[in-house]
Amino acid sequence: MPALTKTFFIKARDFAKAGESSLQIQSILKSIGFTSDLIRRISICAYEAEMNVVMHGGNGELLLTVNPEDIVLDVNDDGPGIEDVELALREGYSTATPEYREMGFGAGMGLPNIKKNTDSLEIDSHNGRGVHLKMSFKVEDS
């Protein structure tokens, strides 16, 4: 049985709240007391994924599961999905609008950042039917 699960709802285009779920996850992980490097990696991935749902996706949810041996983040949204996942994973690839770029997003580094910071990553996307990201992080005994 998992030690802890928590679901967060993400609303498309809600920039007033965007990132709040990831900040909560960061503080939950800090209170449990994982290594700072692990917390940093998970927080970054949660945030990049959350911002992607807000900017590019639809409404969605983020599920945090803390197991003794690993921590898993499942992120689902009901937006337009990613047409070419391999292309989206490339550094610098972005469909962000000028408006988002002005806010500081759209470097095309979010998914590559996620790839780099996860121990395992699954991206499932069917055009028109949203995106499912499953990100796992190993918990090493400290």
Binding site: F15, A16, A18, G19, E20, S22, L23, Q26, S36, D37, R40, R41, S43, I44, Y47, E48, M51, M103, G104, F105, A107, G108, M109, G110, N113, K116, N117
Partner: protein
């Protein structure tokens, strides 16, 4: 070229060198600043080891605060005299993140801190751990 001696600055040093106005963090002026980073791109701030660094940015929105907290940045300086909105100040205060504003440009701000010994994040981290 004359070598500039590397040293940590305090938040107070940063404030003075940048002739900055401080909005959040008056009580943390003796906090050490171990490195500096400058970016106008959120994902950039989340790449590499920006934890424990002061961030200089030309952006001025609440996402800067959230991104900084996620990245582990310890203080944020808005360059070119950008004034934070009340929402930004509230958000920074909530996270205990010092927030300043300097009249200098990004280039000048970086130069002023560098010339007093502050270094970029790459010198803070040993090369081996930098890749991750």
């Amino acid at each position: 070229m004359n070598e500039i001696e590397t040293k940590d600055l305090s938040l107070n040093d940063v404030k003075h060198l940048l002739r900055a106005q401080i909005y959040v963090g008056e009580g943390k002026l003796d906090m050490p600043i171990k490195a500096g980073t400058a970016s106008d791109l959120m994902s950039d701030m989340l790449t590499g080891q920006n934890s424990d660094a002061v961030l200089l940015t030309g952006l001025c929105n609440v996402q800067v605060i959230r991104t900084s907290v996620i990245a582990g940045v310890v203080a944020v300086v808005l360059v070119r005299g950008k004034q934070p909105t009340q929402e930004i100040i509230t958000q920074a205060r909530e996270h205990g993140l010092p927030l300043l504003s300097t009249p200098f440009t990004m280039f000048t701000s970086c130069g002023r801190l560098f010339s007093k010994g502050l270094r970029g994040v790459e010198e803070k981290v040993p090369a081996a751990t930098h890749a991750r």
